[in-house]
């Protein structure tokens, strides 16, 4: 085991797969000589050469589409979007081509698209979004949202190994802030299996990505009040671990669904609806959602702080549920 940052764990996972499997290659903007905008692929081109670490023109449609073509020809491409926000330029290739090819033509498209996502540092409307719910809605795609360094490595390896198009949302605010023990050997973490980040008995928080830590801080504050909060980290929103969520809901009978994406049509709505359908009789309070408001991500620090769910917001929500 070594202590790695979340970012180092992503690099480690990618490097592990590239060393193990010649079919794996990286393509994206500035991923080669520069090592990627966030330096995830720093040193990769020296090790793997410029045909496996490909500096692409500024052309997201071509990058993702080329991954699909190469995947159908037996490669295991990993595309890097410089920011998750730019995936809008490749929507068609993911949603129209990659997502539907297995169902309609029987052709698997094993690609991984890395998406540096999330806000918290004044990235503004085009460098801060969390677009996972848009893609979780598309049958045929998988969406991975790691929160810890260990998961970042294991889930990336699983994503590359998976025979489907997988969107890997790596939260930028966790890159250098979060450190943890990461096994040095290769390992996988199954897609669709949640993790209990913190055990508790009175209220459950269902969340993923950077919000796991917001929930954890809030849970610690509630601890002082004598309220025991469970934090469930989904790890992947598609497929999502319905049984783990329902199990936690039945255990605590009170559920807060928390995400950094905007509220309406966010993936939390799906979770809340599922709990209402399948665990209604086990609930002691209505399911509560905390999410960003339905606006673009604002730039100026006080506005961005008002946009991204804060620890205080979660504390207030948890107290409300605890007292219900």
């Amino acid at each position: 085991m070594a202590e790695l940052t979340y970012l180092q764990a992503i690099s480690d996972g990618l490097r592990t797969e590239m060393r193990r499997d010649k079919r794996v290659f990286v393509i994206g903007e500035d991923v080669g000589v520069y090592g990627g905008a966030f330096k995830v692929t720093l040193g990769f081109q020296e090790e793997f050469g410029h045909w496996r670490v490909i500096d692409a023109p500024l052309a997201e449609t071509a990058i993702v589409g080329a991954c699909s073509g190469a995947a159908i020809m037996g490669m295991r491409p990993v595309a890097e979007m410089q920011f998750a926000d730019f995936i809008s330029c490749a929507w068609d290739q993911l949603v129209t081509v990659a997502a539907k090819q297995r169902y309609r033509a029987g052709t698997p498209v094993p690609i991984t698209v890395r998406l540096p996502s999330g806000g918290g540092f004044s990235g503004g409307p085009f460098h801060s979004q969390n677009p996972e719910s848009s893609f979780a809605h598309i049958p045929g795609l998988k969406c991975v949202t790691p929160a810890t360094p260990e998961d970042a490595k294991g889930l990336l390896i699983s994503a590359i190994e998976d025979p489907n198009p997988v969107l890997y949302f790596e939260h930028k605010h966790l890159y250098r802030r979060i450190k943890g023990e990461v096994p040095e050997e290769r390992y996988t973490i199954p897609l669709g299996k949640a993790r209990t980040h913190r055990e508790g008995d009175d209220v459950s928080v269902i969340t993923w990505g950077a919000m796991v830590y917001t929930a954890e801080e809030a849970a610690e504050q509630l601890d002082a009040d004598g309220v025991s909060v469970e934090v469930v980290d989904l790890r992947t929103v598609m497929p999502w671990d319905k049984s783990a969520v329902l199990e936690s809901a039945r255990k605590t009978s009170k559920v807060l669904v928390l995400h950094e994406d905007t509220r309406t049509g966010g993936f939390g709505a799906e979770i809340a609806a599922t709990i209402a359908e399948e665990a209604f009789e086990d609930l002691d309070a209505p399911v509560k959602r905390i999410a960003a408001p339905d606006t673009p991500v604002p730039f100026s620090p006080p506005l961005e702080k008002a946009f991204i769910p804060q620890v205080d917001d979660v504390v207030a929500g948890l107290r409300e549920l605890a007292e219900y």
């Binding site: 290659f25 393509i27 045909w51 496996r52 490909i54 692409a56 023109p57 052309a59 449609t61 071509a62 990058i63 993702v64 589409g65 080329a66 991954c67 699909s68 073509g69 190469a70 995947a71 159908i72 020809m73 037996g74 490669m75 491409p77 068609d92 290739q93 129209t96 081509v97 539907k100 090819q101 297995r102 169902y103 309609r104 033509a105 029987g106 052709t107 698997p108 498209v109 094993p110 049958p139 045929g140 998988k142 025979p163 489907n164």
Partner: protein
């Protein structure tokens, strides 16, 4: 001002031999063109009989373009043909009965009723199934070429698009990436002069689509898309150039969509004189005449070919009609691939 090179017609059997074809090959191409048109004509009848759900599209007028290019491809080359390119599926060897099953939404169609029309491909024959969003398959073709380049295989990818689709960003991005990396890909623009009801002068401002190739750093060629031998020769040159490491080529195959955009469209917006003029260029009639003039095609051979095609079509229709409709309970199956799905010649 035109920039792209204009391809020459093929004027003799000697030139055909120089391009790598013998007389048997020519008769095979002729048969493929007749079979292609036959499949689509029979499809049209099925549609009018109410046996084809949804709409129905044909590539009438594009048989030379499709058959010419597909004949030039090597067995390990791959392609992403579109809805006017049935001839590519025919040349690569898709069984006609499976095409009729596809049209009718039966389980034995290549998509098992999951998709219709020419939205199909047999990956074992080196084809990748198209989507409706033209030209979204060009980046995919470029990606196949990228895989060949990374693995240093002497294989080529062929990507199709139409002159209408040339307006979209996918085409630009694909040619940009293919150009800078000199990938082994050949772009085929089926210019049938009408993007649904939109004429070429409202689609692009250059004289030819192929004129753009120079801007991407590779050669553009305009070829008469009703001349199967000229198409073949240019496609062969481009494919072998790509295979040898010479990078991409953009071939614009100029023809006319001899019918509406789809069966519901009577193409009232196409001037009648244009249809009349292009009827004289019917690719099949043109090739038949060429074969009679230059390759001594006999009445007996013609009858044998057309009789054989007719029998193939009759048998295929009968077999396709026997194919069952899909079981509704399977609707949710196959959205996600399993690891076993990767056990194919390509994915290994």
């Amino acid at each position: 001002m035109a920039i792209a090179r204009e391809a020459e017609p093929v004027n003799s059997l000697r030139e055909v031999r120089e391009a790598g074809l013998d007389r048997e090959d020519l008769l095979g191409m002729y048969r493929s063109m007749i079979l292609t048109r036959g499949i689509e004509e029979r499809g049209h009848i099925l549609y009018r009989q109410g046996k084809i759900p949804g709409s129905f599209y044909t590539g009438r007028g594009n048989e030379a373009g499709a058959v010419g290019v597909a004949t030039a491809m090597g067995p390990d080359d791959v392609g992403t043909p579109l809805h006017r390119d049935m001839g590519v599926h025919v040349v690569r060897g898709v069984a006609p009965w499976r095409i009729f099953a596809q049209y009718m939404g039966r389980v034995d169609g290549p998509t098992k009723g999951r998709d219709g029309n020419v939205h199909m491909a047999d990956s074992n024959l080196g084809l990748i199934a198209m989507v409706s969003h033209l030209p979204a398959m060009l980046p995919v073709a470029v990606g196949a070429a990228l895989a060949f380049r990374i693995r240093e295989e002497k294989r080529v990818a062929v990507g199709w698009f139409g002159e209408g689709a040339s307006a979209r960003g996918d085409a630009h991005e694909s040619m940009t990436l293919a150009g800078v990396r000199r990938l082994p890909v050949v772009f085929i623009c089926d210019n049938n002069q009408w993007a649904y009801s939109t004429p070429t002068y409202l689609g692009f401002a250059t004289e030819n689509v192929a004129d753009r190739a120079e801007a991407y750093g590779f050669e553009g060629v305009v070829v008469d898309g009703t001349d199967v031998l000229a198409v073949y020769r240019e496609a062969k040159r481009a494919i072998e150039k790509a295979r040898a490491g010479g990078g991409p080529t953009l071939i614009e195959s100029l023809t006319l969509r001899m019918e509406g955009h789809a069966v519901h469209d009577d193409a009232f917006y196409v001037p009648k004189e244009m249809f009349e003029k292009w009827a004289e260029n019917d690719p099949i009639e043109r090739f038949r005449t060429w074969l009679r003039d230059h390759a001594d095609l006999t009445d007996e051979e013609e009858e044998e070919i057309s009789g054989g095609v007719k029998k193939t079509l009759n048998d295929a229709l009968k077999r396709a009609e026997e194919s069952p409709l899909p079981d509704p309970s399977t609707v949710t199956e196959g959205v996600y691939a399993t690891p076993e799905d990767l056990d194919t010649p390509h994915h290994k």
